[in-house]
Symmetry: D2
Subunit: 93 residues, 4 copies
């Protein structure tokens, strides 16, 4: 069971909001809104998405990684390597 | 008229795709998909959104900023200051 | 002549400060400073470097791009394409 | 003892290189190098600094966090909260 099940409703709500914001950006482009205003909205949605990502990182570390470390040092290390790769992709995106 | 009207269809198509990807992430969370896979998808969508933002920056510079500069040095400078603020928000997001 | 000559002293001062901060991070690692504190410092230096980059973008748009646009539409477009590639690298870094 | 002592030499070497690159950027500005080339170098140094940051995150998770988790569930959670804050700063920088 993944680590975020405790706050699934919260993630669902935030992602629905982000989905609506992306639809709003598409509407802005369709209605020839001034580019700068569209860009401001794109930055806001990017930040919201990254915040969801950081929340998932925290849940993953706090559940899967801690649990694996408590099971064995070796399992902990494997989960850390995997989590770091995902964090690196988030930092670079 | 904003600078991106030439490729409006293209932006519409890309934003619809991003909207679908965000909906896909919500579904992944709902179905208890492994956190790392959700994170990979969040990084991909963030990159896609930023690519749309960079496209809009190029269109804005190539249309509004160049046009303002051709009208007067002063107008060009004003548009540059405004564009730089938007670019700074994109870099920081 | 590149666009940033008006504030060369300012960039020199900021880059000297960043250089000192990087040396400080090396010292923190050498002295076994707690990782989290080193990470905080790395984030601060990254932000300072990006701020220098955004300043250079503004100077470049306000000098080279505006000047090229005032010379001809075609030259303006070429500078915009080149500047957008540099901005894209900054957003992705 | 912080988590990165195994590769301290490696971090020292990479940070010395980054320090030299920052000094090189200052020299480029001093010698009126074309802005776009300075920007390319700033993006490269930013990426190098973030790569050091990601390495420190991996070391920290693999040492401090795993160790804390193996000591007690509670200690593991505390280290995870602290590490996530540092990761969030890195993602936002």
């Amino acid at each position: 069971m993944p680590g975020y099940s405790g706050t699934k409703e919260d993630y669902a709500r935030r992602l629905r909001r982000i989905e609506g914001q992306v639809r709003g950006i598409a509407r802005m482009v369709d209605e020839d809104t001034y580019c700068i205003d569209v860009l401001t909205q794109i930055s806001a949605v990017t930040k919201a998405l990254q915040a969801v990502g950081i929340g998932l990182v925290e849940d993953h570390l706090g559940h899967c990684v801690v649990e694996a470390a408590r099971s064995s040092e070796q399992e902990g290390q494997e989960k850390v390597t995997e989590a770091t790769d995902a964090i690196a992709r988030l930092v670079r995106s």
